[in-house]
């Protein structure tokens, strides 16, 4: 029943999409409001369905077969606890983004390029979650890519964006082809590609292994696993901000869903080396992603790189879950998978929030380069407040939600000494160290992002004349920050609600989280570790309240405004502030030579020479340099070489025919 309603909602989204070109052509506020309003309602419904399916259990789950798609098997759709979890993630993001766009969308210069694809994008993501056969899954998957690609291309006048769109489309197609191969292997020669049939079939070890690798290539490229992440920081920022938020916060989670669905549900018993692969890739992704993020000057690109980092963290969690599952450690596996799922949820909240904040900044100032911003906290106080909340959450600081999932993941890592495989035992602590490093770097990254953008003094007139965003957009962000706080302070019910998923995926579940005492969460048992978000939050609130009360009541409340002190040498020029690049300099100096082939050309003129000193910093993306540049080089080389064949004389072409004929005749002669 619920599945039917969900499908109707998706159809509704597609219908909105189809009607959108006509609406976009109308006088603007109306069309924009109608499209986003409809999307808001439909995603809201889907969200409710997701919640009902997760909490209500079997009553709200189910199967449906439609006579479309691949002719022999039709299109299978189903809703189970796993898809319900991601349905919640996707549609929560959809609700927030649609709400936000009710305000933000009015600033869109070319609504005709956004409105038709936005609902389609939402529909595509939902369809991926509902699909229960390989073909529908792939169609939905690629439909999702294609509609988001169109959104990326909506600001197509900038060459950067066109390049981003190209790389994105290419990588998306690569991913889909890899998934196609994976499903080809799974479905076997029979061609029966329903998930139910795949699940019941037995897969030899080498097939499962190959499928895992293909899934890593396919789903990993969509999620943004290093080294397949290159498209992500290009494409996510290029889209309108609410779409960037959806792509970063939500679409990457759909990729994670695809990975979990295939690897945990369809493949059956994992092998331990899978975990090794995942842990290595995950750690690499987390650290490289965040290091790149620290170096970025483009606010939205910074956020996109931070998405790469978080995907790394999620994959570490998934890898751990696989490692535990292989060895039959159900409780530990459930802890790891819960941490990964929870992080998916959390990341979708705060990354969406941050992108929406970046959207406000973009609308308010027209700038994405943080070096040209500064002091926005005065002109856009509410955005600043909300963005700060997002920064705290993503930096994994208590009492917000980012901390909870990373804490759970660290707890899961602490269980790894019980693993029997040596490689894993060495690898897991290393992954833990990388995770901690990534988390710490993320802190730095967001201090820099918030500090340079919102604090200090305006570095350009655009920044000094910024204006606050629409109230409705701010409401959408408030909704997200509220959820961040809720998930951070009361994670217990969330974890409890995930238990059907964990028993489904890894045949184990975490201890039922007691509501009392102290509303704390307990990964394994009480004496091992516990954390109570609400209590920590309460403590912090109470003690800061006490501090303020005490000081204001018993001491001075007087305030005097004065010029800044700055050790006695305040300089009125905003250019004397610390810039984003200078903020990143120490980290660049420590990690740059290793990860970016850092080159610094500092040129100081001799004393007396009036020429300005120059400083040139070059950072190379090693993944690009060593993987993508050579590949595109080879392709172009081959194209150049083969292109000669376009300019031959007819005689030469005849010679080709002749040669083919003679060769084949030889073949036949020797055959006989």
């Amino acid at each position: 029943m619920a599945i039917a309603v969900a499908l109707w909602c998706v159809i509704g989204l597609i219908a909105v999409s189809a009607a959108a070109p006509a609406l976009a052509a109308r006088p603007q506020p109306l069309g924009t409001r109608l499209v986003y309003g409809a999307s808001l309602i439909l995603t809201g419904l889907l969200l409710l369905i997701g919640i009902a399916a997760l909490l209500g259990g079997a009553d709200f789950q189910g199967q449906k077969v439609l006579p479309i798609g691949l002719p022999w098997i039709g299109a299978h759709f189903s809703l189970d606890s796993l898809s319900a979890v991601f349905l919640i993630i996707v549609n929560l993001g959809g609700v927030a983004a649609s709400l936000y766009a009710l305000g933000y969308g009015l600033h869109e210069e070319a609504p005709g390029r956004v409105l038709p694809f936005y609902p389609a994008f939402l529909a595509g993501m939902n369809l991926v979650l509902l699909s229960a056969d390989a073909f529908s899954f792939l169609v939905s998957w690629e439909f999702m890519s294609l509609s988001s690609w169109a959104l990326v291309m909506s600001h197509h006048h900038e060459g950067e964006n066109r390049k981003a769109g190209y790389v994105y489309l290419l990588m998306a197609s690569f991913g889909t082809l890899m998934l196609m191969l994976a499903f080809g292997l799974l479905a076997g020669t029979s061609g029966d590609a329903t998930f139910a049939a795949i699940m019941t079939a037995a897969h030899p070890d080498w097939i499962s292994g190959a499928v895992l690798v293909l899934m890593l290539l396919g789903a990993g490229s969509k999620a943004g696993l290093v080294p397949l992440h290159v498209w992500l920081p290009l494409a996510h920022p290029a889209a309108p901000s609410h779409v960037s938020g959806l792509m970063s916060g939500v679409m990457t989670k759909v990729a994670v869903y695809g990975f979990i669905r295939v690897v945990f549900v369809l493949l059956g018993q994992p092998q331990w080396w899978w975990a090794v692969l995942l842990l290595v890739l995950g750690s690499l992704t987390a650290v490289l992603g965040v290091l790149q993020a620290v170096m970025q000057r483009d606010l939205k690109r910074l956020l996109a790189y931070s998405t790469v980092e978080n995907i790394g963290i999620i994959f570490i969690g998934i890898g751990l879950a696989l490692a535990f599952k292989t060895n039959g450690m159900g409780a530990a596996a459930s802890l790891a998978i819960v941490s990964a799922l929870l992080h998916c949820f959390n990341h979708s909240l705060f990354k969406n929030l941050l992108f929406l904040g970046a959207g406000n900044v973009l609308v308010g100032t027209g700038e994405r380069d943080i070096e040209k911003l500064g002091g926005l906290i005065h002109r856009m106080p509410r955005t600043a407040y909300l963005f700060l909340g997002g920064c705290v959450a993503i930096s994994a600081l208590p009492p917000l939600n980012g901390f909870v999932s990373e804490w759970l993941l660290l707890q899961a890592i602490l269980l790894s000494p019980d693993l029997p495989q040596w490689a894993l035992r060495f690898l897991v602590p290393a992954a833990g160290a990388m995770l901690a490093l990534a988390a710490a770097l993320a802190g730095s990254c967001f201090v820099r992002a918030f500090g340079v953008t919102f604090l200090g003094r305006a570095r350009s007139t655009a920044a000094s004349e910024a204006h606050e965003a629409e109230p409705v957009s701010l409401k959408a962000m408030s909704l997200l920050i509220g959820l961040c706080l809720l998930a951070g302070t009361l994670p217990g019910p969330l974890i409890d609600s995930l238990s059907p998923v964990t028993s489904f995926l890894v045949a184990g579940h975490m201890p039922t989280q007691p509501l009392m005492p102290l509303l704390s969460i307990i990964p394994i048992n009480e004496s091992r570790s516990s954390y109570s978000g609400i209590l920590v939050f309460g403590f912090i609130m109470a003690s800061s309240w006490i501090a303020i009360r005490v000081i204001h009541n018993f001491a001075s409340r007087a305030v005097r405004r004065a010029p800044p002190w700055d050790c006695g040498f305040p300089n009125a020029d905003p250019a004397t502030q610390y810039t984003a690049d200078s903020f990143a300099q120490p980290i660049r100096r420590v990690f740059g030579p290793m990860f970016f082939r850092l080159k610094v050309d500092a040129h100081m003129p001799r004393p007396g020479d009036p020429k300005p000193a120059t400083l040139a910093v070059t950072l190379r993306d090693l993944v690009w340099d060593f993987l993508y540049a050579p590949i595109s080089g080879w392709v172009m080389f081959a194209a150049e070489r083969l292109n000669v064949l376009q300019f031959l004389t007819i005689r030469s072409y005849l010679s080709l025919v002749f040669a083919a004929l003679v060769a084949l005749l030889f073949l036949v002669a020797t055959w006989a």
């Binding site: 376009q646 005689r651 002749f658 004929l661």
Partner: protein
Amino acid sequence: MQHFSLDAAHMFAGGMVLVSFMMLYQDRILGLINVFAAHAVVLTLSVSWQAYIQDAPHLYITAAIAFGLKAIGIPWALHRMVVRLGIHREIETVGGIGPTMLMGIVLVALSMVVMLPAAAEADPIAREDLALALSVILLGLLMMVTRQNAVSQIIGFMSLENGLILAATGAKGMPLVVEISVAFSVLVAFIVIGVFLFRIRERFDTVDTQALDDFREGRE
């Protein structure tokens, strides 16, 4: 009688291969045209012989077309054209006459190797004919590939076609042979007219290729 008819058919077909070799050897255009005319004459004889032994009068039409068009009409037209365009000089070859001849021998051997076992069940006339016809076809192709002059390439194509007619007439009782030979004659006529009309002088690739690059795809 059976034996004799087989020998005669064999002789004519072999004659065609021989003339094909002569064409490969020619390095003057006018000479080449003459040899081609001889090629067509041998074909005419061969087809007539087949018409006789197969008792298939319609093949005489084919023979007549071969004689009228290829032994007389086209050589005459080509003669005039060559003279008028002033290209009755040496033919540029690719790789020289000697290697081409050698290659030709290899091709003949190849067609024997391919066809003789393949057509083992066919009756002997057809078998020999087929093998020799294949040789003629391959030699014709070889000629097209190794000559840079348009006229000699046309001649190569026509000798290839002669090989086809040889094969078709050799296949006893094959229907549509006449139609096919007519269709081919139309094709050949088109080619000749094309060369003539579009003044494709030196080679098939007509005009100045540099100029074309502007319009077509030059290298980036």
